[in-house]
Structure formats: structure tokens, C-alpha cells
């Protein structure tokens, strides 16, 4: 941004600036609001704006991930988390921490000073654009046969990193199991939770026409979401997408089912034991591809060896299997988190509501 203010402003800069100011407004509002529900709503908007902004920055893959997380799952999980806590942020005491203020101001000033040395937006001579980026762009086509450079870099050149990330996701799932548990297979509660009057009234006629609109529309959408997830999974080679996004989308379809038919029905169809197995299995598939490469005489995650006559085809095949591993882990862990958050009976007193 060193000369950013002097360059003529074009149409895209206007769009970027509008989005950035929207993000700032939403960010300040999130910090200032005490009502946690409003904060959840605002974070949904934050996700929408940043997805649109990422598209305008030409980072379509990042935008796609943001959309897959922000469209459904994050709001559902945040509401689930809120049910386990309170609806209002605890009032903080109005105190003045002068030292903290000085530290924050100094850090901010240092960061601002550091931006002077950063390459301006889209500078062709900056380090990432000049050396390694160009190299990737030049080589992926011939070496991996995958048109989408981002997918090739993610699954092949940086295969180790992605393996690590998948393991991190598994670890997150394990953490949720340890803290919240999975609630076991379709716990038989004495009586389904009916806390409010409306809920009690509804339960007597749950088979009635009450939520017929939501039920009919959701039923129609579930297979469509699954197919879209599969499309995202297998077309990650050509456009934005891949295992991470597809895993989120497929988990969303199951979460939608759980929202309509209740968590017990979902646990019957997709039991927690299966989900637990899936989380580990995905990492095993990923690592297994690497081990097969080792056994065939190559390096760990060196997919070329899978097809000695056509190394590029080997790459394509390896990337496909690795992405399936990512899909299985991500989808399973999302469901672990969802089951963990919703299987606990929230304990909210009426006066806190």
C-alpha cells in the first residue's frame, strides 16, 4: 500500500473499498454488542461479505471455503454453543488499563509502519508473485495434469502440509469428544426436551401439518445438497473446491436432516460410532496413499509412482484419493462437533432467556 493512495482508483478498487468498510463496520459492531444472538447474526454477515470480497480479489478457492463454512454450519454450531452458555456477554467492568492501551497503540503503529515495506497490491515483482508462484503456474499443468493450480499445490506440492491440516481437524474432533462427549448412540431420554409452552403444545401433534413447509423443502434439498457436495469434491481439479469444502457441504446435509427430524433420528441413520470411525479413517486413507507410494519405491506422498508410464496420471489419481480422505475426515469431524454440541441438555433458566 506504499503508493496505493496515489494510483488511479479503478472500478474493482471501489468494490474492494466498499467491502472492506462493511467489514470494519460489522467488526466494530461485533465488539460492541452485548447480545450474543445479534453477534451470531453479524458474524453470518461478516462471512457473506468476506466471501464476496475474496471473489473480487480473485481468491475463488478461499471464497468457496468461506461460503461452505459460513452458509450453514458456522451459524448452527454457534447457536449450539450458545445453548450451552448464556445469551448475553458478561458485563465487563469499565476500567482503564493505560498500559494495555499503550501496548496496543505501539503494536498498531509498528504494524502500520511495517505495511510501508509490503509490496503494493498485485505487484508483479513481489516475492510470492515473482519466483515460486510463477514456477507453480508453469509446472502444474505438465507435472500433475490438474488444471486448478490451487488444488495441485494443496494436494501435491504441499501434500505434507495438507496431511498435517487434516490431522489438526481430527485432533479438533477428538478434543470435542473429550470435552463434550458424543452422547452415545441415540440416547433414550425419558422424555424429549419440552421446555417452552410452545414446544409442549407442538409435541402432541408433531406429526401434524405444523412444520410442513420446512419439512417438504428440506426433504427436497437434502439429496440436491449431497449431489452438489459430490460435484464440488470431484471437480476440485477444474474449479474451486475439493475435500474440505465437500466435507462441509455433505455434513451440512446431515445437519439439516438432524434439524428437521431431531438428533436421535440422525444418530440412528448416521451413528456416532460410524462418525468416530470416519474421522480416523479419512486420515488413514490420506496416510495410506503415502505409504503405498513408499511401498512402490517412491517417497511419501509422491504420487508419480502410482502410474510409472504416465506420472501425471499418477498425480491425478493420488490427488483424488487424498481428497477423498480429506472429505471423510472433515465431514465426520463436523458431525462430531454437531453431535457433541447438541447432545448436551442445555440448562437455561427462564429468567436468563
Amino acid at each position: 500500500m506504499s503508493t496505493g493512495f496515489l494510483t488511479p482508483i479503478d472500478a474493482f478498487t471501489v468494490i474492494d473499498l466498499i467491502f472492506m468498510s462493511m467489514l470494519v463496520v460489522v467488526g466494530i459492531a461485533i465488539v460492541r454488542l452485548k447480545d450474543l444472538f445479534a453477534v451470531v447474526m453479524l458474524s453470518g454477515v461478516y462471512s457473506l461479505v468476506s466471501a464476496a470480497w475474496f471473489v473480487s480479489l480473485d481468491a475463488v478457492d478461499v471464497a468457496f471455503t468461506e461460503a461452505a463454512v459460513g452458509a450453514g454450519i458456522s451459524t448452527v454450531l454457534m447457536l449450539g454453543a450458545m445453548l450451552l452458555t448464556a445469551r448475553q456477554a458478561a458485563p465487563s467492568k469499565p476500567a482503564r488499563h493505560w498500559v494495555a492501551l499503550i501496548v496496543v497503540c505501539a503494536t498498531g503503529a509498528a504494524l502500520l509502519y511495517a505495511t510501508v515495506d509490503m509490496p503494493s497490491f498485485g505487484d508483479p515483482l513481489s516475492a510470492p508473485n515473482a519466483y515460486i508462484g510463477l514456477e507453480y503456474l508453469k509446472r502444474t499443468g505438465a507435472e500433475t495434469g490438474v488444471p486448478n493450480v490451487v488444488s495441485a499445490v494443496l494436494a501435491s506440492y504441499r501434500g505434507y502440509d495438507t496431511f498435517g491440516e487434516t490431522t489438526v481437524i481430527l485432533t479438533a474432533g477428538l478434543g470435542v469428544i473429550l470435552i463434550l462427549g458424543l452422547g452415545g448412540p441415540a440416547i433414550k431420554r425419558k422424555k424429549p426436551a419440552a421446555k417452552t409452552k410452545a414446544a409442549k403444545a407442538d409435541q402432541s401433534k408433531i406429526l401434524g401439518a405444523h412444520h410442513v413447509v420446512l419439512r417438504v423443502v428440506s426433504k427436497m434439498m437434502i439429496p440436491v445438497i449431497i449431489i452438489y457436495g459430490a460435484y464440488v469434491q470431484f471437480h476440485g481439479d477444474f474449479g474451486p473446491g475439493g475435500g474440505f469444502q465437500a466435507g462441509l457441504i455433505i455434513a451440512s446435509a446431515i445437519i439439516l436432516y438432524a434439524l428437521i427430524y431431531g438428533i436421535d433420528a440422525a444418530k440412528e441413520a448416521v451413528p456416532p460410532s460410524l462418525v468416530r470411525l470416519g474421522a480416523a479413517l479419512g486420515v488413514l486413507i490420506y496416510g495410506g496413499v503415502g505409504v503405498i507410494n513408499l511401498l512402490l519405491g517412491g517417497n511419501f506422498l509422491e504420487y508419480n509412482i502410482l502410474n510409472p508410464t504416465h506420472p501425471a496420471h499418477g498425480q491425478e489419481l493420488g490427488i483424488m484419493f487424498v481428497e477423498i480422505g480429506v472429505l471423510v475426515t472433515v465431514a465426520s469431524v463436523m458431525l462430531i462437533i454437531f453431535y457433541g454440541f447438541t447432545s448436551r441438555q442445555p440448562d437455561i433458566k427462564d429468567k436468563d432467556w
Binding site: 451459524t75 445453548l83 464440488v232 445437519i255 434439524l259
Partner: protein, 97 residues
């Protein structure tokens, strides 16, 4: 023309943001987020033509498919104070339609 449309859509996104911040009811905020989502979907479609990359339409499609999942969760949150209650029951084999 396309650019003008995308500016119009961004202006309406900003108006939705005002409604979101002003409230006053929580339901107004939900409504504002919902409407903001629709406008973002339209913006992404228009923007795909502006930058000449059709990938943005895929993102719009993703939002169109999944944006209402959050709304259902919000309904359950308000009405039942729990996400695990069933809104409906599946029909098992042999049960009357």
C-alpha cells in the same frame, strides 16, 4: 451496465446492514441477514460476469442451497431453546402415508 447493477446490489447490501445494526427486534436482524444473503448471491452472480470467471456462480449456488439451514436452526433456537428436538417424524415402513 453490469457494473451499475453490482453497485446497486452493494447499495442495498449496505441498507440491509443498517437494518441489521438498528434491530430493534431480534427477528428484524434475522430478516436482515436473510435478505443480505439473497443480495450477496445476486451480487456474486453479477460479479462473475464482471470479472469473467464463472467460478463465482458456483459460490452463489452453494449459498442458495445452504443459506436456509441457518434460518431453520434459528427458528428452533427461538422456539424450543434446543437444536435436538424433532420438528417432524420420518415414516417407517408399513406406516400409513
Amino acid at each position: 451496465m453490469i457494473f451499475a447493477t453490482s453497485l446497486l446490489l452493494m447499495a442495498s447490501m449496505a441498507l440491509m446492514l443498517v437494518r441489521l445494526l438498528r434491530g430493534p427486534q431480534l427477528y428484524d436482524r434475522v430478516l436482515a441477514v436473510n435478505s443480505f444473503g439473497t443480495k450477496t448471491i445476486l451480487f456474486l452472480c453479477v460479479f462473475a460476469f464482471l470479472i469473467g470467471r464463472s467460478d463465482a456462480v458456483d459460490i452463489a449456488l452453494l449459498y442458495a442451497l445452504m443459506n436456509f439451514i441457518a434460518t431453520i436452526a434459528i427458528l428452533k433456537f427461538f422456539r424450543y431453546r434446543a437444536l435436538d428436538v424433532a420438528l417432524s417424524r420420518t415414516r417407517r415402513r408399513g406406516e400409513a402415508r
